[in-house]
Symmetry: C2
């Protein structure tokens, strides 16, 4: 199998676990379940859960202990996309080739489906912590809570909204990318490593890997917004221009941005090499991410 | 001190703890902190944290262990109000006598401030669980996650939105009140009792108290929407009529609804009597809630 096939296989495995996590107890009203499932099973790359499980394995851990947390981080990512697409935010009609949640279910239901996924992520993790009752599980939940919350993703989103249409310096742009995107990748890698009983040194390295990989991933997303097509991306291109968003691409152009992506990826890979061959998959994944078309 | 003064004193103590919980680490951008604080410090009754701390004390526990969870449940309650007030939901301009979050900060920031408070609630609880590392703390977080999430408050909100302007039977109306309002009061009482090392029998009773108290509280809220004034409530009256909401009042009238409130409160009080004099405060509070004007 090539890496694309391996990633697809992993995504299928994660989807099966997500289905279990969502259906463990019946969710009522049925419309709430439908709205949650519509966005959760919209064919995402499952990058964050794949990173979490791979980091767990890279430090010698067993992925069984990490699956609930992998599901939770994907639920959090999905909620953030639903809210990000809302008319008051990015006002996007399409996501992954399908209507966005508010276009499909209406705005009220989209807000609530997002809230519901965020709640369900924490309920899923809390139950996993009760079943496992270990400090490493609690610390993994904390890493995810921290990366997604007011010191991570949410503050990145806020900074992004506040700076729309404004001239920005590189420091501010880096702050946004680091928090809006990288913080959740860092959280995935750190949580996975914690669940695999990593050493403090390994945890610190995984956090650094996450920051570099995350910023590179966001810059490459911004590049694709300019160079990609609707068919490749499953969402409208040039949306950054439409929303007057500042990106590395609008600031430095495609070529210089591509060089930054490559430099950051190199740094992430050189850190990952310290983990030995158990981290080969993460290295391949990093290389794959900078060459992706969607 | 009369009960009103005691409640005000408790609210002041909880606000001091909320201020610590929000400022522990600096939140950036400043606007995010402002929007979170604007709604969190808008002079609410702090009913849910007061219930949580009182339930802990009613079973002989110490409130120090419960404070982080009391703060978290108020953050969750506040996020739910911010999202509930949004134009796509109840579209309310005023809350507690002040502009609602989206009227003050804009819709994007209101959505994000709500998300941020929900995240921060779970981050606060997770940190408390790490510091305490006990099964009872984890179970308290689980009770709150469960009561607020897709099997509690959120599903009540969804059912409420889906049934707006529709004819409803009493069963559906009870489902909405039980989940939208009572589930969080139940969660507060259960979490507090767990943190106070309650027996299983005590936990079951607290859950029943919460259901009865919560439904009574919601019906009395609906009564006040008809009989109260803007000055008393700090929010527009007759909003249920405006939003074509079905309530016990629109279904049975004020007088019959008032009788239901009294019957439910009696049931809650007779359950609380089993806890002995340590539950006197909760009994007084239940009586106070049915006579309140806001």
């Amino acid at each position: 199998m090539n890496l694309k096939e391996i990633l697809q296989k992993k995504a299928v495995e994660i989807e099966a676990e997500l289905k279990k996590a969502l259906q463990k107890k019946q969710i009522y009203p049925a419309m709430l379940y439908e709205a949650m499932a519509y966005s959760l099973f919209a064919g995402g790359k499952r990058l964050r859960p794949i990173l979490l499980l791979s980091a767990c394995e890279a430090v010698g851990g067993k992925k069984e202990k990490a699956i609930a947390f992998a599901c939770a981080i994907e639920m959090i990512h999905t909620y953030s996309l639903i809210h990000d697409d809302l008319p008051a935010m990015d006002n996007d009609d399409y996501r992954r080739g399908r209507l966005t949640s508010h276009k499909k279910f209406g705005e009220a239901m989209a807000i609530l489906a997002g809230d519901a996924l965020l709640h369900h992520a924490f309920e899923t993790m809390t139950e996993a912590c009760i079943n496992d009752f270990s400090m490493s599980s609690l610390q993994a939940m904390n890493a995810i809570a921290h990366g997604a919350g007011v010191y991570g993703m949410v503050c990145g989103q806020v900074a992004d909204v506040l700076n729309e249409g404004k001239a920005m310096d590189e420091k501010t742009m880096y702050f946004i990318h680091k928090n809006k995107t990288a913080a959740m990748l860092q959280a995935a890698l750190k949580a996975g490593a914690l669940l695999g009983q990593a050493t403090q040194k390994q945890l610190d390295m995984m956090e650094q890997v996450g920051e570099k990989m995350g910023v590179a991933f966001q810059i490459s997303d911004d590049i694709l917004d300019v160079t990609g097509t609707l068919e490749e991306l499953g969402k409208p291109v040039h949306s950054d221009q439409k929303n007057e968003k500042n990106t590395y691409v609008t600031m430095y152009g495609v070529e210089a941005s591509q060089k930054m992506v490559e430099a950051l990826s190199e740094e992430a890979i050189s850190l990952l090499k310290a983990f030995g061959e158990k981290a080969d998959f993460l290295i391949n994944l990093t290389q794959y991410l900078i060459a992706r078309k969607n």
